[in-house]
């Protein structure tokens, strides 16, 4: 029957291409996939943090701070350079349990909640995960995507409030929808929470390739928490480091206009054309001389690098109050903060290599 028939759910063509792809892409995919398939709404990043720790080399001595950030320090001496990628993803939080057995939620991070309505849901209790569905609502007559929403509700199949409590669900628990890393044609892939699992993967891949003993200075990798709700983890890390770092590199999404749906006035960084120096966004402007240095470094290393301006904020901007220059490194992403974010593995691999080169040579 169709469940086992070729052509019915088995993805033949991307799998064939996957087998033929270069080692760097295979490595990138092997790190990225488990990160994408880990769940971690802002404030409940534990499963993602555990995945990062599992993917790091055994010799790595990563530590978690009181804000939930994961730190890995390599090398020693000045200057200290910080790379920060965030662990958390957008999602929902339970705000109330109704007598009819449905859950009220609020959004955690900025996205179009309408894309989640009428979808399967997962309530993360911190222990077990309880399946349910986001209640659908007829939004056909409203502007698209819907930006101002009433409360999004979740049905876990309970008849009343007591039934919900019996599942172990409480106010404050987080809600996502099931997700899966899926290869598209060529080197493209889709899934949810590529933002910022790609950045997290790039840091893991770079950490694997760096040797502490050969670094001439201190490199600090931080996998941060609660970026999507206000850079909270990065703020704690910045406060802890104070005036120490010479530079911070937020390694995060470059929201690209590479789609027929977008205006291309700015932000047009084609997928597959390499990482992007996110030289200007809503939270930071990279000093122009540093953009030039980064471009020269990438060129010398043979790494394709795009330079652009986009929207959004980045964790590096949390260090601004300590006078630490922020040089964000991004990669182009389509359909940001949607269930179907699309990235190109070539960009992921090149981003990891760029992080390594910047850590070693800049």
């Amino acid at each position: 029957v169709s469940g086992v028939r070729p052509g019915w759910g088995l993805v033949l063509i991307p799998a064939v291409l996957s087998a033929q792809q270069p080692t760097g892409l295979n490595d990138a995919e092997r790190v990225l996939q488990p990160l994408v398939e880990s769940y971690g709404v802002s404030g409940m990043e534990g499963p993602v943090r555990e995945t990062v720790q599992r993917l790091l080399p055994r010799s790595a001595r990563a530590q978690t701070d009181t804000a939930g950030n994961l730190w890995l320090t390599m090398g020693s001496g000045e200057p200290s350079v910080v790379f920060v990628a965030h662990l958390d993803e957008i999602g929902f939080k339970v705000t109330a349990i109704r007598e009819d057995g449905t859950l009220e939620t609020e959004t955690m991070g900025g996205f179009f909640p309408s894309l989640w309505e009428g979808r399967p849901a997962l309530v993360h209790t911190g222990g077990r995960t309880v399946p349910g569905v986001f209640l659908p609502r007829d939004t056909a007559a409203t502007a698209s995507p819907v930006t101002s929403e009433p409360v999004v509700r979740v049905d876990v199949g309970a008849a009343n409030r007591a039934g919900v409590l019996a599942f172990g669900i409480r106010v404050g628990h987080t809600v996502t929808s099931p997700k899966q890393y899926v290869r598209l044609l060529g080197t493209r892939a889709t899934g949810r929470s590529f933002d910022d699992r790609v950045g997290s993967a790039a840091l893991v891949l770079a950490a694997r390739r760096l040797e502490s003993s050969r670094l001439g200075h201190t490199v600090i990798f931080i996998w941060s928490t609660r970026e999507e709700i206000g850079l909270e983890g990065a703020r704690a890390a910045a406060a802890a480091l104070g005036l120490g770092p010479a530079r911070v590199h937020a390694v995060d999404t470059f929201v690209s206009a590479d789609s027929p749906l977008e205006r291309t006035n700015f932000g047009l960084a084609p997928l597959g054309a390499g990482p992007v120096a996110r030289a200007l966004d809503n939270s930071s402007v990279t000093p122009p001389a540093m953009v030039d240095s980064l471009v020269s470094l990438a060129r010398a290393a043979g790494i394709p690098l795009q330079v652009g301006a986009t929207n959004g904020g980045n964790d590096g901007s949390a260090f601004a109050g300590w006078g630490v220059p922020d040089v964000p490194l991004g990669w182009p992403l389509r359909y940001s903060h949607s269930p179907v974010e699309v990235a190109d593995l070539r960009d992921v691999a090149a981003l990891a290599e760029l992080v390594r080169v910047v850590a070693e040579r800049w």
């Binding site: 993805v11 894309l115 009428g118 569905v133 659908p136 290869r183 789609s259 027929p260 977008e262 809503n282």
Partner: protein, 330 residues
Amino acid sequence: MANGERVPIVAALALLLAAAAGRVAARTPDPTLPDLAIRLAAMTAVTGYEQQMIDSLIALVPGAARDRVGNAVVVLGAGSRRRLVVCPVSEPGFIVGHVRPDGWMTLRRAPGRFSPAAERQIEGQRVTVFGGRGAVPGVIGVRSIHLTRGRGGAGEGAFSVDSAYLDIGAGSSAEVARAGVAVLSPLAPAKRPHRYGTDLIAAPMAARRTACATLVLAARRAVAEQGMVPRGESVIVAFVVEQELGGRGLGTLAHARGPFDETVVVDGAPGAAGLLARRPDSLAARWPGLGTVTRWSLGARYPGTYVETTSIAGADSLQHALTAWIGGRR
């Protein structure tokens, strides 16, 4: 001609294999109702492109065969008093309408009744495209929220299929073609049926697919228990195509296999999840050959959405009722 000489041997082998397959199918243990409901809910049968699902149903019901319009049909008993029980398999969906030089594709609705809500659901979701070289994953694009900030929504209307862009990761129309995808390739939401609560199943068309699963199991039992159909009667079990496109599958049965004394249409319908409802249906006015028509509906919570929900307990009742009906009990 050497090739010509091989034909009878090949044909004989094919017949032997088909016969063996039939025996294997007959002996295969029945899948459980939840498993079969999930299997069928994971399948795609866009109106007019149902034949792969029909293949699966033929494999599941020993003795079933495809008729002239593509329905899967099995005849139980040999009597002259004929009864008919059908389950529609079709679903709303889309086809590739145009392949752009840059590899993005635009869509057209598959024909048939189609709610605007159903159409809107594909925005920003994963889909499966059924191309000439197999299933290809894709996504329906959506604007990045970051790039809409502070830029207003002037000129932006409600999402419709006319504003949908299909992205399968191709960078050119040539890459699309190499993947076997072309104008007319059907597509539908990527399906991962989802269980929740104590016995609920959520999926696109969950109630219809679960209803079809009950009919598969009832038919398998009737085939296995020779003599279930009362003497002097015959029961035709059919899984019909293009129900939302003028009822082509059902109409063809009425004309080609009728007249029937009685017809039961098994389907999903809005209602409490799993609630079994039996109501007279007006289809007989359109096709008198169907005889008295009754619709047996399995209730669906959130009908027509990607999380249409029904219950296994209700489906279990439907399966027992169908088995009894095939056996002549009212």
